[in-house]
């Protein structure tokens, strides 16, 4: 039938989309520290903890400077990875992985990068260009041709048969694979919700793997201090984390990086009830919630100007308070996913919020 | 067994060239009440002149002339592949001839608009795709399409014509059954009813008796006889020489696309002609009522034959 080729494409696409986006999320029932509901936009609901407490309680992620003991075996998103030595030839896929390595001062161990999401943070930007394998996910052969000893991926789907290679097959070829723990898709491994401890644990873990514990400890301490210096906004403002999508918006939901960042900034996420990292939403639900501010994720493919033009051009969304009064906060895409730039996201959003001078 | 409903009207002798108003299937009083609306497709004699047609490079109809007077039955006979169906399709205007003309009365078929032609000429085909999901009555209703306005809907009159047509051929009891479920014979009746419901002046039939048993064959031809009596011009392709001889006023013998004989049965269907065209030996006898009866036998080699 004629539906067939079209449907096949759609289904293949669905498979890609579900596997592909770390933010697709699962819908498990447990809620975690999500705040806020979609109803009553005007009520001032105080934000619950999960934000400042990361610095105050310091639950379990002490910055330990002891040397690594190899072989090091780690359960990473359900796959057991064993490191016999610190990896020296790393292929890093997605900005979160690339910038983690840069932040730990490991630029010289990067033999190739792929699928970068935007410019690197200036404080650890490399002197020259990192060797770029591919704009998107590289193929397995292209990856193996570089003879890496570690493929460090920002999305779990990056290390699949359609991507840089199935984890088992790469392991058989002597290449270790590591997925950013915040991006694990399986319910058992996905942080539910994501906490600052999760993020800092990952930094410490990377420090152990690469045998740079001091750099990791220093980074964690620095980020904790930066986070502690930010006081969450107490006005109970509601916000929409608008990532992409025109007909149907794709927004930051209740358990991922957007929620974590918004909690730290002191914004109440209108999609906090959804037990996913990111989720699609209906415009109707957004308009009904009428958020006070809109956080726009800026990327090369979905620029801020385009998003604003879309919001203003659609007569339905043009009625939103935030659109009418131009109450936008902008966060660059690489800082919008869980990683070493999450604290930076909190900082920039906080500063912009103050500048908005909202009543 | 079904009964054929015949019009209890005397057969009015009609002379060639007569252009009396076409007889409606409805009774005269009703038809008169309809006024002009009931008079479509005036009956007229059929004249075919020098008709020629090629298909895929092959000459299928070769310079065919024939005439069928209005109110008479013309039978086209001939062996398989002689071109009988093709001739009917050409007369109906479904195929376009390479040369020659077909006239209905004074009007050329080729010059008529499609709609007009559909109102004046009806063809009951020999083979149809049986996988049609309409009921028999709905199939007959299709015939009213040429009479309806472009985006119009069948009205009371149309439904009455359909009913009359079905009764005429004795198909009214399976009117509501699916066409696909009917037997070959029943389908043939329905298709004949459909052709009648078109209320044409010229009725073309392609092997209307193929699937019918003896009695049904005779009944069908009686219906045709009575229709001719009402002034309709009828041209039917028949493979049964006896039927042709018994019911037709004119017999046209076609062989390899050419007319080899045309005229009353007695003159057209002689044993010699049958031997030449069909390659069989024929004895023509006379039944007590004068109808010709044929006896066939294989042709054996004869000196000088």
């Amino acid at each position: 039938m004629f539906a067939k080729p079209r449907f096949a494409a759609a289904l293949a696409l669905a498979a890609l989309a579900v596997g592909g986006c770390a933010a697709a999320g699962t819908s498990t029932p447990s809620q975690g520290g999500a705040t806020g509901t979609l109803s009553d936009a005007g009520a001032a609901v105080s934000s619950t903890d999960g934000t400042q407490s990361a610095a105050a309680s310091s639950a379990g992620t002490t910055a330990d400077a002891t040397a690594t003991a190899y072989p090091l075996t780690i359960d990473n998103c359900g796959t057991t990875v064993t490191f016999t030595a610190a990896p020296q030839r790393v292929v890093a896929i997605k900005s979160t992985s690339i910038e983690m390595m840069l932040a730990l001062g490991l630029a010289d161990r990067i033999i190739g990068v792929a699928f970068p999401d935007g410019p690197y943070a200036p404080q650890w930007a490399p002197g020259g260009d990192l060797p770029l394998i591919s704009d998107k996910v590289p193929g397995e052969e292209a990856t193996l041709a570089l003879k890496p000893d570690l493929v460090y991926a920002g999305w779990e789907s990056n290390v699949s048969a359609d991507g840089a290679g199935d984890r088992a097959s790469l392991a058989a070829a002597g290449v270790a694979t590591f997925v950013s723990p915040a991006a694990c898709q399986e319910a058992k491994y996905q942080p539910h919700p994501l906490t600052w401890d999760d993020l800092f644990s990952e930094i410490v873990q990377m420090g152990r793997i690469f045998a740079v514990p001091q750099a990791a400890a220093a980074l964690v301490n620095r980020q904790r201090a930066e986070l502690a210096a930010i006081k969450p906004d107490g006005r109970g403002l509601t916000a929409l984390w608008y990532s992409s999508g025109s007909k149907t918006p794709y927004v930051g939901a209740g358990i991922g990086n957007p929620q974590l960042v918004m909690d730290a900034v002191g914004l109440k996420n209108i999609a906090a009830d959804l037990p996913m990292t990111w989720s699609s939403l209906s415009w109707e639900a957004v308009i009904a919630a009428d958020p006070d501010v809109i956080v726009l994720v800026d990327s090369s493919w979905g620029s801020t100007q385009k998003k604003i033009a879309q919001l203003e051009g659609n007569p339905a969304t043009a009625a939103l308070t935030a659109v009418r009064h131009h109450r936008y906060l902008v966060v660059p895409f690489p800082a919008s996913e869980a990683g070493v730039r999450s604290v930076e996201a909190v900082q920039t959003l906080s500063a912009q919020l103050v500048k908005l001078n909202l009543p | 067994m079904t009964t054929i409903c015949a019009v209890p009207r005397e057969r009015t002798p009609v002379t060639p060239g007569d252009t009396s108003p076409q007889a409606s299937l409805l009774e005269p009083a009703e038809a008169a009440r309809q006024g002009a609306a009931g008079r479509v497709g005036a009956a007229a004699p059929l004249r075919v002149d020098a008709l020629t047609f090629h298909r895929s490079g092959r000459l299928v109809i070769d310079d065919v002339d024939c005439t069928v007077a209005s109110g008479t039955i013309g039978a086209v006979v001939g062996p398989n592949g002689a071109g009988k169906s093709t001739l009917l399709h050409l007369v109906a205007g479904i195929l376009t001839a390479d040369a020659g003309s077909v006239r209905l009365g004074a009007d050329r078929i080729e010059d008529m608009t499609r709609r007009n032609r559909a109102r004046r000429v009806a063809l009951a085909a020999q083979q149809v795709d049986g996988e049609v999901d309409l009921t028999a009555a709905e199939v007959v209703l299709l015939a009213r399409i040429p009479h309806l306005p472009r985006l119009g809907s069948p009205g009371r009159h149309d439904h009455e014509v359909v009913g009359a047509a079905l009764r005429r051929v004795g198909a009214q009891q399976f009117a509501d059954r699916r066409f696909a479920e009917l037997s070959g014979g029943e389908r043939q009746r329905v298709l004949l009813a459909r052709a009648l419901a078109q209320e044409p002046g010229l009725l073309l039939l392609d092997e209307p008796t193929n699937h019918l048993d003896i009695r049904a064959q005779l009944e069908t031809l009686s219906v045709l006889r009575s229709l001719a009596g009402e002034g309709l011009t009828i041209l039917a392709a028949l493979h049964d020489l006896a039927l042709a001889a018994g019911y037709a006023d004119t017999v046209i013998v076609l062989s390899a696309g050419r007319v080899v004989a045309a005229g009353p049965p007695a003159t057209a269907l002689t044993p010699d002609l049958i031997a030449e065209v069909y390659g069989v030996h024929a004895d023509v006898l006379a039944a007590p009522d004068g109808r010709p009866v044929f006896g066939f036998a294989p042709l054996t080699a004869r000196p000088g034959a």
Binding site: M1, F2, A3, P5, R6, A9, A10, A17, G20, C21, L38, K136, S244, S246, T248, S279, S280, S282, W283, E284, A285, A288, W301, G302, K306, G313, A319, L320 | T3, C5, A6, V7, L25, E27, A92, R114, R117, A118, A125, V128, V132, D133, L134, T135, A137, E138, L142, A143, I145, R150, L151, R156, H159, G163, A164, L166, Q172, Q173, A175, D176
Partner: protein, 359 residues
């Protein structure tokens, strides 16, 4: 025994049965369906993720139409007038358009499996849509989709031998050409998807491929309404001509139909109408295929009745399907194509089983 034609049959003659059934039932069923459609649209405008009372709905609509004094709050008004109402109207119009085109296609090709996208229309539109989404110019989506379907249509007709010979536009050649062109365009769509999409555009493309009325605006309503009035209504009233094709081309000619011209007109009109629908709502499947069959169960096969009733049933069906898609997973939305597929597949199976039992 002979029956004189002068005898008037009383009551239960075949012609009377034929006359009574369509006259009484088509009009009756049509009226009921029309009322059902109005009710469906009202329900669609009233339900949704945002709780809005019937009174507020009426106020909003009345205010826009120039009656009544009160005006509900801006966001409520935006939801009712700029989201729900255009969406409900678009669903109804697209459903009607697809159903009518389905009937026409099934009649012209004399194939019960035919559907509106037969001529490669949806695949062509997909190419246009996907290219535009990937390039980030989603504003031009309807135009690109329509252009794509036109391109596919021309190719299909060319391939089916439109410009030569008596057997040129035969049903079987049309179907085969449509399959070929659909496959080719689907392949192009797949290439574009796999080559250039980022995580964000995956979702938009998927929504489009499955068919979604999520982005419907008053512009969408205008596009489909104009197409339906100009093309759809004449099609819906042209049942007689379609019926003439019941026994094939020769037979249709014998009934006075200009087969070649009529077929061109029917295919062209159907393509225009389908193109408009697809441009606005993506490739919603099953409506054009299932609705004609379902309506045939009630009215029989005469297109005279089938066409207008299918339009109404298609409108009602899609309105409800979209309402379901919007509300079943509140606050998230499903693309409506998923709902029609979920509904359509079992219905189709049931129809097949029923047909098997009858033969």
């Amino acid at each position: 025994m002979t029956t004189r034609l002068t005898d008037r049959p009383s009551g239960s003659g075949a012609a009377d049965a034929l006359r009574r059934r369509p006259r009484a039932t088509v009009f009756g069923i049509g009226s009921v369906l029309l009322v059902a459609l109005v009710v469906s649209v009202i329900v669609a405008v009233t339900v949704g993720p945002a709780p809005i009372s019937l009174r507020a709905v009426w106020q909003s609509i009345a205010a826009h139409l120039g009656w009544g004094a009160g005006r509900p709050p801006l966001t409520v008004d935006a939801i009712v007038w700029n989201l729900r109402l255009p969406r409900a109207l678009t669903s109804a119009l697209v459903g009607a358009a697809l159903a009518v085109c389905g009937v026409v296609m099934q009649a012209v090709t004399r194939n019960p499996l035919a559907e509106p996208y037969l001529l490669g229309l949806s695949s062509g539109a997909s190419v246009g849509a996907v290219v535009v989404i990937v390039l980030g110019a989603a504003i031009a989506l309807p135009l690109a989709a329509f252009g794509g379907s036109l391109a596919a249509l021309i190719l299909t007709l060319l391939l089916a031998g439109a410009f030569g010979g008596a057997t040129a536009l035969s049903p079987s050649r049309i179907i085969l050409a449509g399959i070929a062109v659909s496959a080719a365009f689907s392949a192009v769509t797949s290439i574009v998807i796999f080559w250039s999409t980022t995580g964000d555009s995956f979702r938009e493309i998927l929504g489009w491929l499955l068919g979604s009325i999520a982005g419907a605006s008053w512009t969408s309503v205008a596009i489909v309404a104009v197409a339906f009035l100009v093309v759809g209504v004449p099609l819906a009233l042209g049942g007689n001509v379609l019926d003439a094709f019941a026994f094939g081309d020769d037979d249709a000619r014998a009934l006075g139909v200009d087969v070649r011209r009529v077929r061109w007109l029917l295919l062209g009109a159907s393509a225009l109408l389908t193109g408009a629908a697809v441009a606005v709502s993506g490739a919603i499947g099953f409506v054009g295929l299932i609705v004609p069959h379902a309506v045939r169960l009630v009215t029989g096969h005469r297109n005279r009745a089938l066409l207008p009733l299918s339009a109404l049933v298609g409108a009602i069906l899609l309105t409800w399907a979209d309402t379901l898609a919007r509300t079943a997973f509140d606050p998230r939305e499903l693309p409506v194509g998923i709902v029609t597929a979920l509904l359509g597949a079992p219905v189709f199976a049931a129809l097949l089983i029923r047909a098997k039992r009858l033969t």
